[in-house]
Symmetry: C2
Subunit: 151 residues, 2 copies
């Protein structure tokens, strides 16, 4: 399995885990330049009452303290297009690439990432999209709260 496969699979695994917990079903995984998983996690709004533990933030948090060099050449895999906060986190830590499961249900800061020289890949993965569509149908209020939007 390639590093990209492993990172994306871990992100989808996290999204499924979030779904099984009744949470916002978004997962992420940070993979180093040499293919090592540095951290992975999923959205914890519902599980922890968290306003900031989006999937990408969880993955960065779970990776722990790292020197700037650890993020060089790294890829952030995320099941959904990243919001402005998670986009900014990727910009701040200067990851090389963001691989996105899908951007049909939400489009975040993809153009801003590109403007900062970060490669953006969108996979349009059916499972990622199905997890989000199910959640948004069942719990629209929780979803809109998660992205700072009125329902």
């Amino acid at each position: 399995m390639s590093a990209q496969d492993a990172g994306f699979k871990a992100a989808v695994h996290e999204a499924r885990q979030g779904s099984s917990e009744g949470g916002v079903p978004i997962g992420a995984c940070l993979v180093s330049a040499d293919g090592k998983i540095l951290g992975q996690g999923h959205n914890m709004r519902i599980q922890k009452g968290s306003a900031t533990l989006h999937a990408e933030i969880s993955a960065l948090e779970n990776a722990g303290r790292l020197p700037a060099s650890a993020y060089q050449g790294a890829t952030m895999y995320t099941s959904l297009s990243p919001c402005d906060m998670c986009t900014g986190a990727c910009v701040m830590y200067k990851v090389k690439r963001v691989v996105i499961g899908e951007n049909k249900t939400f489009v975040g800061g993809e153009e801003y990432l590109k403007s900062k020289g970060i490669e953006v890949v969108v996979l349009q993965d059916q499972e990622c999209q199905a997890l989000m569509e199910k959640f948004i149908n069942e719990k629209p209020g929780d979803w809109y709260e998660d992205i700072g939007e009125d329902e």
Copy 2:
């Protein structure tokens, strides 16, 4: 005391608290449109080994889950110019204004905030600057790690 005074004082109090704990001395406070403190916090990189609990993220996290309407008209007070992650968090939650203690030691996403219609006020507070200068002199490695830069 005006709402602005209370919010900024709370942010500086948090920065001092971070300093007394040996941490990155940056504090923040989120104040609602009607002057109520919704949450406050300080950088927890050293205290919690956290890669994401910058001051503004801590303040948002400590405010807990809130509907989008709670951020409308809100002000984020922060002792230091916000990094790209914290800038993105303010953009995502659509705060009205960001009041910055100082931007002499670091300039973050101020122009991006303005481009999104968020008011930016820089106070150039001497104490905020002194706290940062002392920390950067004593622990440069921790500081550069916190903003994803090589020392």
